[in-house]
Amino acid sequence: MAEKLVVIGNGMAGIRTIEELLKLAPEAYDITVFGAEPYGNYNRIMLSPVLAGEKTIDDIMLNDLQWYQDNNIKLHTGKQVTHIDRNNRKVVTDDGLEESYDRLLIATGSNPFIIPVPGNDLPGVITFRDIHDVDQMLSASKEFKHAVVIGGGLLGLEAANGLMQQGMSVTVVHLMDTLMERQLDPPAAKMLQKNLENRGMHFLMQAQTEAIIGKDRVEKVRFKDGTEIYADLVVMAVGIRPNVELAKEAGIHCESGIIVNDTLQTFDPKIYAVGECVQHRGMNYGLVAPLFEMARVCANHLALHGIGRYEGSVTSTKLKVTGIDLFSAGDFTGDEQTEELVFQDAARGVYRKLIVQDNRIKGAVMYGDTLDGPWYFDLMRDETDISDLRENILFGQAHLGDSGHGEESRVAAMPDTAEICGCNGVCKGEIVKAISEKKLFTLEDVRAHTKASSSCGSCTGLVEDILASTVGGNYSQAPHQKPMCGCTEHTHDEVRNVIKEHELKSVRAVMDFMEWDTDDGCSKCRPALNFYVICQWPAEGLDDYQSRFINERAHANIQKDGTYSVIPRMWGGHTTPDELRAIAEVADKFKVETVHITGGQRIAMYGLKKHELPLIWKDLNKAGLVSGHAYGKALRTVKTCVGKEWCRFGTQDSTYLGIELEKMTWGSWTPHKFKMAVSGCPRNCAEATIKDFGVVCVDSGYELHVGGNGGVKVRATDFLCHVKSEQEALEYTAAFMQLYREKAHYMERTAPWLERVGLTYVKEQIVENTENRKQLAERFLYSQKFMQNDPWQERAEGMDAHEFNPIIKLDDSMKRAS
């Protein structure tokens, strides 16, 4: 019989935990949920837009009653749990109902704080917490004129804005001298206040409420200095207190919240707690993203998977007032150890401040134009070294010189028909619709439902922005360190370290050692693991072909109709009449449908049948043609110009160097495809400055460039250094490729990798540290000893025959009886 799980609290944290649990272990528990409110589960953070008339209650419902039925969850709405009997493991409600549990989840959320002044219980004095409060405000706005909101924080300002939208005259009363002092610094707060005043909102700053006065209903608010203002409605929005009464009464250890450990367990091991009611490592959280992270971890432990720890959240805030953009994250005040980078344009109403310590962003405040907020937030959470970005960082991501997407990033202003994901043809409208209709909260959800940003990923930022603007800015951002995939909690870096330290030499060994959640991984993690294993252990690591994508298994590119393309290597773009004749003969003999010159100076043949591949390779091999690895996360091409051999501008023998580079690097597997080029002079005809590694020959030697790519998001290379000889150019190439192989995440090209680790780091490793460079180059060349076997020749000679042939061909006589 399934164990019984009782959940106290039908809010976002509790139900999110249940959703996560149902995904992991749908049959593990008989689930009962108690909720004090008479509804299903709704998105509490969206109450402000409901109050402002921009959304309806239906828009913000997350799980209707049918959902509870469909998942066999017993839901008691409108019932208050008044007692937890831990000895007998049962809960008791106000009307005497008892329910026993094997595990209990407390998700009681928080209560609005009511300031202890006379008159705080008068009719017309309310808080801003649930649907009932919003209903009261909406009906008051129809009948009355003057509203007073006590509290100039996030919630107070959203309430004030909503009431103003409903036609009331609103005064915000705030104890401090600036608004939202927990999220904004004084300059940003002043800009916000001015903007709201221009919209007609009134403010009383540094005002301490002394009493609320009225006979049958609130009439006035009086302050400590003796002044009074009229009020038909008073909204208290001065903060929230974790709702711990029930837990406390049951003897569960509480401070300001219910104390939980990293597995969200309370001091009673049968009892878990999540959400606003908990205190974790001294912190209380009131935003959605941390609650969702808690839910994920808690569900994992309820499902008895026993892995996953909640280690606290870095949070960011946005104000949900239409037309006002502000963003705040992390430590925005700073101290003696930090520096401030500030950009202010009062006339345009734009303000940005970054708090920086040791070249890492510690906090950010933005007002006016906040589109770059998520970008700063990412840089902050990833602790990215910003020394290379510093000069332009305040102007935003669009000004970093990637001409790919900069100006497109005006998400909010985009029409619904704007195409966001070019790979999958997904428009903004479809994404917004999926988010609202399917109640999506995470980037992963949006990817799964719409396919947007699920292919090349270059529109990820746009999709995140749409998600943020649609769900209200507090959507669940990915946790600080992203796990490799859904099969594990471990990150790419953790996995790589363990493979090295514990000498794990096969995909299976890694998954066993690191206790993978799934039996044999997925199409995301297995290819990554396989690469990490053979990269670390080139000699003895087991190359698991079943963990490679089909292209790398078949050593050809699968095309949309299931046929394959074949591209032989042409060293440095050089070819000969014999090679061309061999290709022409193969094209004739195997009736190749399309022969095409690629961008990498080679010839591709399309429309080949899989079983013919080994025969084609045999013919190509005879003319000395080998695999071009055009199908792999591997060294692709080295593009060259003819250089000084022919060109009147050429300064060095670029073709020769290109061929040498290709001879040295062919056959190496890399985290993503790797392209090179050598140009014979700065006119750069080989386009070396948009390659992963580019050499531009100059009179005095060779300029080395790294981290460029064409593709979806064009990125020009960064200049690495200048070297004098071909020999040095080769050594630097080997060292750079090895650094990339050892440090980048699988499927991460050099461009994003370089942006993540910083050019400074790469220079330290390769340019400044000679010994290190030599070791990197040595490791690369050692690995190459095991990689430089032509896979085409091996297969032409019979290797992996099963890969290329059907197990059986059925003709008519055999099918007769079927």
Binding site: S523, I558, K815
Partner: protein
């Protein structure tokens, strides 16, 4: 390669060992290919070798758990039922398989429940 009839509909297609673990082989028929998958636990399943999304050859995908990831756009298809894993929708026809003493037998009469046919 000889195909020997057994019972009524069962066609002997080969030995279990001929399919790599976490891999697949193709049975060519005149009406189209059938992919025969072998999981890590040596369970064997047969599906129409055509992804319900854009027709990708499922036999070329990465097999993991009881699923295969289509090589073209990474849709996940359940090996037993041929159903696409939610939120994707669609299915590839599945075919009965029987294994006796390491010999795999396939029936060309698809299982019910999927409109897809070979």
């Amino acid at each position: 390669m000889s195909a020997v009839m057994k019972d009524n509909d069962w066609i002997r297609i080969g030995m279990l060992d001929e399919i790599p673990r976490l891999g697949a082989r193709v049975v060519e028929t005149e009406k189209g290919n059938i992919a025969v998958f072998r999981t890590a636990t040596d369970a064997v399943f047969a599906l129409h070798d055509k992804c319900p999304h854009k027709g990708g050859p499922l036999s070329q995908g990465i097999v993991h758990g009881d699923r295969v990831a289509c090589p073209l756009h990474d849709w996940k298809i359940q090996l037993e039922t041929g159903l696409a894993v939610a939120p994707d929708e669609g299915c590839a026809a599945s075919f009965p398989i029987r294994i006796e003493e390491g010999i795999i037998y396939l029936s060309l009469v698809p299982n019910e429940g999927c409109p897809d046919t070979v």
